[in-house]
Amino acid sequence: MPNPDSGAMTLNGAARHLCWSCREETGQGPFCTHCVKIQPVEQMGDYFALFGLSRRYEVDDAALKDKFWELSRKFHPDFYAAKSEPERELARDNSAYLNAAFRTLSDPVKRAEYLLACQARGYRVNLVPPQELFEDILTAGELLESAALTDDDETTLRATGRTFAGRRAERIESLARLFERLLNGDESAQAEIEDALNEIKYLRTIGERIEQRLGANV
């Protein structure tokens, strides 16, 4: 419970806020514990806090989705149509914030980038990742450019697509372990995370293009 005498700005690491309407302390949830009016969710902390999650890379996808639906219903602007203008505005803002938070945390790449940003570290985009991956992408890219694919080309492209997808899945999986190291103070994990993220992005683009090409050819 909040201790009014502490005078501190934070309690258990979370900032304390006064309700915009009743001017009492709101508690940590999205609704004022005193007057039950909707509060701006940005003040609850980062995206992880909004979903009641601790700030780490691995998230429980099912729990994330459940919490998203629960909060979506609570903030849905339709339920605020008859309320005051400030409440209607907060319902809209909270819904937008919630959607952005869910999009970020449910995507393995966006979540990693967000987590890096939360750690207040610069995110370095490395222009020269593994050269052998680039060669593979250029080779596959050349096949994609050809006007007509022979059966052999298609088989090659399919196999390449599978290799890329496997490599991407591996890299995404490695992120959890790397973030564990980073959050435990191992600074050297940062560069490895950035390299993994860059590689995942290259693999995503070439993977999508291969899928498009094969999809149109089946």
Binding site: V125, N126, L127, V128, P129, Q131, F134, E135, I137, L138, A140, G141, E142, L144, L197, N198, K201, Y202, R204, T205, I206
Partner: protein, 142 residues
Amino acid sequence: MAYSEKVIDHFQNPRNMGSLDKNDKAVGTGIVGAPECGDVMKLQLKIGPTGVIEDAKFKTFGCGSAIASSSLATEWVKGKTIGEAMQIKNTDIVNELSLPPVKIHCSVLAEDALKAALADYLKKNANGTPVEENEKAKEGVQ
């Protein structure tokens, strides 16, 4: 978004597409990428003993603007000296191809690839003349 006629021309009739032998000491290779869009660009230069760019080739995986930017860059550098090629800026490519703001990163990639190729050549030929080094390379020293 509409592409300019010059972009479409370079995209449909790319100049200098292909590869040079990257183990050749007279060849500088630059491979760069942009993770945000996933584009990858390879640009290679064959540089003569007097420091003039004799041939240039590129391979690009990316959008039409990225292909056009690298195609144009290879066209421009042929016959130029290393020093002259260093002067080529991405803004020159933007102006020539009338690239819209969202495609400026494609021209940046082409400039980066060109610089990387020149740097690779200079690194390979830091000692001795390119021709002598080239002979050694052929004997399988590397």
